[in-house]
């Protein structure tokens, strides 16, 4: 070697010396440091003759002393194992001190010292337990116990603190082993009875000072070195069975997160190392510990479990990460604790919902299958059973996850969708099987946690009402809603359909109501056929189920009732109504079997529907549904009543519409419903009464041309229709002229009446249309009954409404000179003037001929008042008073139509136009005389087979009635001469 290198080396060595001198000093302190602090504890040993810094001689002497005592003590115990006498405690004391000294000062003697301490403590435990089981109440003084175990705990605690890495594993293992042994040995005596709770057991053990000391040492070990200590705990727990649970609980309560994390970590490591076939006890003990802690530390458990899952998504690709999902599955399968399962499954959907996570999982499957599961089929079967066991709020989230997997997305391989479909199929199949097996059991519900969870029930099958915004929500129906909102394939929908059906059928009527209600409330696009499929199948299942159960109440009806509760809110009910409507019309078109069930159920709920009719938002939809129902057949009186009221309100409110098409269609639907209702005579009467009464009510009268009331409804300045305010009354049964028929008239004192003419009167066309619609409706209703009862009712009603008097309302026409009804006649005439619709109604009645007899009083009053009018009329031509002329003409036409005026008198209406007032007086007087002589009474008419009435043939008319009329014709021959032939011919 050349000199330059040597020189360089010397330089570097000098440098080393220079820089390292301090380090050398420190290092030498470590080994040579004779002045290190003497720990205070060894003063305890000074009493036994120990000096500071034990010399080899001292150590050997102490060792020999210890060995002598310990061997004899232990062999004594072996030979007299039955001797359970605490008298030896005092003798143990020096040996214990020696053992503690050796433990600290002589490393090779540590195992022996610990064994001896264990032996001593065991004896104390046994004496403690014996005192307990003796039942003498006063336990032996804990003096010596406290002494030794306190010493042990103090010393070991101190050394643990000073060098946890050295002592932790040693002490932890030792303490756990001893506790495990004692727990097994004294399992039955620690609390004194067999059925003690875990808390009592913990308390029992902690009252025993050696056990307490070792337990606290274990806790210290866990605090310092969780991995090793928890592993020891796990092994011991597996070995001792349930007896050691108290320790796990005790330690776990101190460090829940640590213990859970370590326990899971160890389990996972073991699982990964053994390729999915870990020793049974390991998984079992992991499970046991978890289910212990599950009561109070569920969030910790969930966090740990999810952390394991999340790790696999964060790019960890080692064997442990890849084994984590199989591990969790195995854990879930072997776990008997619902809480653990719940911890594992809750929030899983949000955890996995980013679809790249699902894809990542899918990629791992190929790694799992030959390794941890026998085959794909086996894995799927396992998952199916797990799914069935998943309850509570996790059930819907799991199902959501499955559906997410089943929907084909570009990110996921096709195989995933296939597998998920298999799983869903398996789930459905399994539920069906269970249901079938238990079909004869007495329990009304079958407790499959998954189904319970889907219905929104709790983990224990209880009914935890899931309510959002005050209304009950069915989780599975919510899922359906979500699924339908997104494009999804047929397979998913069919699985969903089956599941919904099972939930609805198996989980009791309340669930059925909630779920069906929620399903009906789902707002879907028009095009989704899935919704109707699901609804159809649910309803089918419900009805079939009902048939099997023979229960009185139809669950379907109950469910519908729930869905249509008015508290739910208009928009929701509107959706439900639309769904029902589509369902009805489709099932009717396709002749589905559910049609009859559905209509029956709807019929049950007629009052509810009636209540909805006059909600401005829902009216049309509910009337549409009602119009599809077969209301012809007998339905309860109450239903008829409320429905009639409601529909007639709807009828009038339709007329308020400005849009002609909606007006006509609304009225058309009303006619449909009303005509059905009219098949009962009660219904007919009520309907007619309501209609006719309504016509004369101020708020509706203007629709039919009553000018006086044209501005009536503008009094209400709030802009709301009164009908809305009155909606709340409309399902009452109203008795005419009682307080129930009083309507809310708006607020008095809302200011002056607005100045008139602010709004134009309705156009004559509109009024005609309204009148025509009304007449149509009435005649449709009347046509429902073949005996002409309707027209008579209208007639009687007209009398009731228009004639304010109850006297002289009979058929006979009195002498002309009886004028005591004069005032009344004028009132009647005025009514006809104010309400033009009265004429229309009268004409309607007249078409039924015989029915007009009941209106005899009205006709008479009109005739009388018109006669009086013309009598005093100073004009030369009747045409100068067109209103009165028109009234006269209409009156005569009505009388002709009803065959009040037979034979030659039929031409009277054609004559009147050209008359002078005095001629009109003559004519009217003749008519009066004829009527007086021929009292109109219903028996003068007979019914023809066609349903019309025909006046019975009279003897030929006496000339006295027509003489004046012929004269008048003659005097006006220029205009009405052609009518003379009727007069002649009739002779």
């Amino acid at each position: 070697m050349d000199s330059s290198i040597l020189h360089m080396m010397q330089v570097s060595q000098e440098k080393l010396f220079h820089t390292d001198c301090r380090a050398v000093y420190v290092v030498s302190m470590v080994v040579t440091g004779a002045t290190m602090v003497e720990p205070g504890h060894s003063t305890n040993m000074d009493g036994a003759g120990m000096g500071r810094g034990a010399s080899p001689t001292t150590l050997l002497a102490e060792l020999d002393r210890f060995l002598g005592l310990a061997v004899s003590a232990i062999s004594e115990k072996r030979s007299h194992s039955s001797r359970r006498d605490g008298s030896g405690d005092g003798e143990d004391q020096p040996t214990v001190e020696t053992a503690l000294f050796l433990l600290r000062n002589l490393p090779p003697a540590r195992p022996a010292a610990l064994a001896f301490l264990a032996h001593t403590l065991s004896r104390q435990v046994s004496s403690h337990m014996r005192g307990y089981s003796g039942g003498d109440g006063c336990r032996k003084s804990d003096g010596p116990d406290e002494g030794v175990s306190g010493q042990v705990e103090a010393l070991l605690g101190e050394v643990l603190e000073s060098a946890p890495s050295v002592w932790g594993p040693l002490v932890g293992q030792w303490a756990v082993d001893q506790l495990g042994r004692w727990s097994v040995e004294w399992a039955s005596t620690v609390v004194g009875r067999g059925d003690a709770t875990l808390e009592e057991v913990v308390a029992g053990w902690l009252s025993c000072s050696p056990a307490r000391a070792l337990a606290s040492l274990t806790v210290v070990c866990v605090a310092h070195d969780p991995d090793t200590a928890v592993a020891a705990l796990l092994d011991a727990s597996a070995a001792s069975g349930p007896a050691l649970d108290w320790l796990v609980a005790h330690v776990g309560c101190s460090f829940p997160a640590t213990v859970i994390g370590r326990v899971l970590g160890l389990g996972l490591r073991g699982f990964a190392a053994c390729h999915g076939r870990p020793p049974e006890h390991q998984l079992a003990s992991v499970n046991k510990i978890l289910s212990h802690l599950a009561d109070r530390h569920l969030p910790d458990i969930r966090r740990s479990l999810h952390a394991i899952l999340v790790r696999t998504f964060e790019g960890a690709s080692d064997a442990e990460a890849q084994a984590s999902v199989p591990f969790l599955l195995c854990l879930a399968v072997t776990s008997r604790s619902r809480a653990v399962l719940a911890a594992l499954t809750s929030g899983l959907d949000t955890l996995l919902s980013p679809s790249d996570r699902l894809a990542a999982l899918a990629n791992q499957v190929s790694w799992w299958v030959p390794r941890y599961f026998g085959s794909h089929g086996q894995l799927q079967e396992m998952v199916v059973h797990l799914v069935l066991d998943t309850g509570g709020s996790s059930a819907p989230s799991i199902l959501r996850l499955l559906m997410q997997g089943a929907a084909p997305t570009p990110k996921l391989p096709v195989a995933v969708a296939v597998a998920v479909n298999n799983i869903l199929q398996g789930v459905v199949g399994e539920i069906c099987m269970v249901t079938y097996m238990r079909r004869n059991s007495s329990a009304s519900r079958i407790l499959i946690p998954f189904l319970v969870g889907l219905r929104g029930g709790g983990l224990d099958g209880s009914d935890v009402g899931v309510a959002v915004g005050g209304r009950a929500v069915s989780p599975i129906a919510g899922l359906v809603e979500e699924t339908l909102a997104t494009p999804s394939n047929q397979a998913v929908i069919s699985h969903l359909k089956q599941l919904v059906t099972l939930v609805v059928v198996q989980q009791g009527p309340a669930t059925a109501a909630t779920t069906l209600g929620h399903l009906l409330h789902c707002s879907t696009h028009e095009a989704t056929a899935g919704h109707h499929q699901i609804l159809t199948s649910v309803i089918t299942a419900l009805t079939v189920h009902q048939a099997g159960r023979c229960s009185g109440e139809s669950p379907l009806a109950g469910a519908l009732a729930g869905a249509l509760q008015p508290q739910a809110g208009s928009s929701i009910i509107l959706t439900a109504l639309k769904s029902l409507d589509t369902l009805l019309s489709q099932s009717q078109q396709e002749c589905l079997h559910i049609y009859s069930n559905l209509t029956n159920a709807l019929l049950t709920n007629v009052p509810l529907l009636a209540e909805l009719i006059n909600d401005p938002v829902l009216g049309t939809a509910s009337v549409t549904i009602l119009s599809q129902l077969p209301l012809k057949k007998p339905i309860p009186v109450g239903h008829v009543l409320c429905l009639s009221h409601a529909v007639i309100f709807y009828f009038f409110s339709s007329l308020h519409e400005t849009n002609t098409i909606s007006k006509v269609s609304g009225v058309g639907k009303c006619q449909l419903v009303l005509s059905h209702l009219s098949h009962s005579s009660l219904g007919l009467n009520l309907i007619i009464r309501l209609l006719v009464e309504g016509v004369f009510r101020p708020e509706c009268a203007y629709l039919f041309g009553a000018e006086k009331y044209a501005t009536f409804n503008f009094k209400d300045v709030s802009g709301e229709m009164l009908i809305k305010a009155n909606r709340q009354f409309n399902s009452w049964v109203k008795v005419p002229q009682s307080h129930t028929s009083i309507f809310h008239m708006g607020i008095i004192g809302s200011g002056r009446n607005p100045q008139g003419n602010q709004t134009a009167m309705l156009s004559p066309d509109t009024i005609k249309l309204h009148t025509q619609l009304l007449l149509n409706t009435l005649s449709v209703c009347c046509a429902a009954q073949t005996n002409g009862e309707g027209a008579s009712t209208v007639a009687l009603l007209l009398v009731e409404l228009i004639s304010p008097d109850i006297m002289f309302n009979g058929f006979p026409w009195p002498e002309e000179y009886i004028k005591f009804t004069f005032e009344r006649d004028l009132a009647i005439k005025k009514t006809f003037e104010e309400f033009p619709v009265a004429w229309a109604l009268l004409e309607l009645v007249a078409t039924h001929r015989a029915a007009l007899s009941y209106c005899s009083v009205l006709v008479r009053a009109l005739a009388a008042s018109l006669t009086a009018f013309w009598n005093t009329c100073p004009l030369t031509s009747a045409q100068q008073v067109p209103d009165a002329l028109q009234a006269t003409q209409r009156l005569l036409e009505v009388m002709v139509t009803a065959q009040f005026l037979p034979g030659p008198l039929r031409v009277l209406p054609q004559m009147v136009e050209a008359m002078a007032p005095f001629e009109l007086v003559c004519i009217l007087q003749d008519v009066w005389v004829y009527m007086r002589d021929h009292t109109p009474s219903p028996d003068r008419w007979c019914e023809l087979p066609s349903g019309f009435h025909q006046r019975l043939p009279d003897p030929p008319m006496a000339t006295g009635y027509t003489e004046r009329i012929q004269r008048i014709i003659q005097s006006n021959v220029a205009t009405i001469g052609h009518l003379m032939s009727f007069m002649i011919n009739s002779k």
């Binding site: 070697m1 050349d2 290198i5 040597l6 360089m8 080396m9 570097s12 060595q13 080393l16 010396f17 820089t19 390292d20 301090r22 380090a23 050398v24 420190v26 290092v27 030498s28 302190m29 470590v30 080994v31 040579t32 440091g33 004779a34 290190m36 602090v37 003497e38 720990p39 060894s42 500071r52 810094g53 034990a54 010399s55 080899p56 150590l59 050997l60 060792l63 020999d64 060995l67 310990a70 061997v71 232990i74 000062n105 002589l106 490393p107 090779p108 003697a109 195992p111 022996a112 610990l114 064994a115 001896f116 101190e158 050394v159 603190e161 000073s162 060098a163 890495s165 050295v166 991995d227």
Partner: protein
């Protein structure tokens, strides 16, 4: 020729160990006969390592207390003054390990306890016998490692709370049993250095390294060349001595790879899986701080390994002075050096840019040691593999290029 065991059969538990040992020593002195080996085994199994239950013929499992009694008896018997050769052969017979023998585990455990007890109680005789056993098993072997591993736990966790006589016992080792100390250094450093296994070094506890440094540095009254002791000692009572291995190779690996330790641990800490490493680091700091006492000297492990490096260089420089007494020619096995060089080049390949300084320090140390070893002719045998490995190292380093050019110059 038969052996009379009747007296032995009558003896009780603690004394039967003593008597069994006595009988075993007698048997060992007898001329070899076919059944003699079986008899030895019988005595060891029945009377030395297992305690018989006087009441039942069944052999009872030993509890920790009984094991300690056996160890105590062994220590007492072996510790009495006597012929070193017969003691050594008795010792080797007692603790002869075998891969198939199920009792080996138990024997090794007993031996570890025995050594630990001997260290604590300054039982020189046992320590000497152990040194011979270790050298016979080869200090780098798994058996030696297993036996010595316990000592690390027992004595090298030097916290202030540890009883002072632990340190005292360690301090006394080189003067009382230099051969044992040297072999112990070899074995302990091999536990962490793993020479020849192709694996990188583990980070040894600081207290272990500092103790080794303290031992190697020598002190007044201590043998000057502790590390070279195995080369100069003969082994009485051993018919076919194995090649002695001084601790230079494993220590060299430790100190060359030391610059990378810190980075490695930092990495582990960053990755959040520091686990044991992180805790060890913190313990070390605590230890050093408190040891520094009032001065509060912050030392880093770099200084410690510089010191270790210096010790190795000094040891190598002392080789010529002891060469006359050496029982074998080889001081440093070239194969071991090659494995160290390979380990360094692997470390360098995997290193990150910010570790350049560490890499340079490692190369400096490696080159210095090899230069000195070459200079003192400690390396003998075929060196071509070693040179090939050295050529793979980066020549940027000045000392390495000097080393390589020195070969060309030769």
């Amino acid at each position: 020729m038969s052996v009379d065991l009747s007296e032995l059969k009558r003896s009780d538990f603690p004394s039967c160990v003593r008597q069994g040992l006595h009988k075993l020593e007698e048997v060992l002195l007898m001329p070899s006969t076919p059944h003699l080996h079986d008899t030895q085994q019988h005595i060891m199994d029945q009377y030395v390592f297992c305690c018989r239950d006087p009441n039942s013929p069944k052999i009872r499992a030993m509890g920790p207390v009984e094991e300690l009694v056996v160890v105590r008896e062994l220590g007492r018997y072996l510790g009495r003054a006597g012929d070193a050769a017969s003691r050594n052969s008795l010792f080797i017979t007692l603790f002869h390990p075998s891969g198939h023998d199920p009792r080996t585990q138990h024997k090794l455990r007993t031996l570890a306890t025995l050594i630990s007890l001997a260290v604590a109680t300054h039982n020189v005789s046992v320590l000497e016998a152990t040194a011979v056993w270790m050298q016979q098993m080869c200090c780098l072997s798994w058996w030696s490692g297993e036996v010595c591993r316990g000592l690390v736990q027992d004595y090298f966790q030097l916290t202030p709370a540890a009883p002072p006589h632990f340190a005292a016992a360690l301090r006394a080792l080189p003067s009382k049993a230099p051969l044992f100390t040297a072999n112990l250094i070899t074995t302990l450093s091999q536990l962490y250095a793993k020479v020849g296994s192709g694996e990188p070094c583990e980070h040894p506890p600081e207290s272990l390294v500092s103790t080794i440094v303290w031992w190697l540095r020598g002190a007044p009254g201590l043998p000057p060349h502790l590390a070279l002791t195995p080369l100069t000692n003969s082994l009485p009572g051993v018919s076919l001595p194995m090649t002695a291995v001084p601790p230079i190779a494993p220590l060299m690996k430790l100190c060359v790879e030391a610059p990378f330790f810190e980075h490695q641990e930092n990495n582990l800490t960053e990755m959040g899986i520091a686990g044991v490493g992180g805790r060890r680091l913190s313990t070390t700091k605590l230890t050093l701080e408190i040891d520094g006492g009032h001065e509060k000297i912050e030392t880093s492990s770099t200084d410690l390994y510089s010191e270790l490096h210096l010790s190795i260089l000094q040891t190598l420089q002392n080789v010529p002075s002891v060469r006359a007494h050496m029982t074998q020619k080889q001081v440093l096995c070239p194969k071991h050096v090659t494995s160290v060089v390979d380990a360094v080049s692997e470390r360098l390949q995997g290193s990150r840019p910010e570790q350049e300084e560490a890499g340079n320090l490692a190369l400096d140390r490696l080159a210095q040691i090899i230069l000195v070893a070459l200079h003192t002719e400690s390396l003998s045998g075929s060196l071509s593999d070693m040179w090939d490995s050295l050529h793979r190292l980066p020549r940027k380093n000045r000392l390495i290029s000097t080393l390589l050019s020195s070969r060309e110059a030769r």
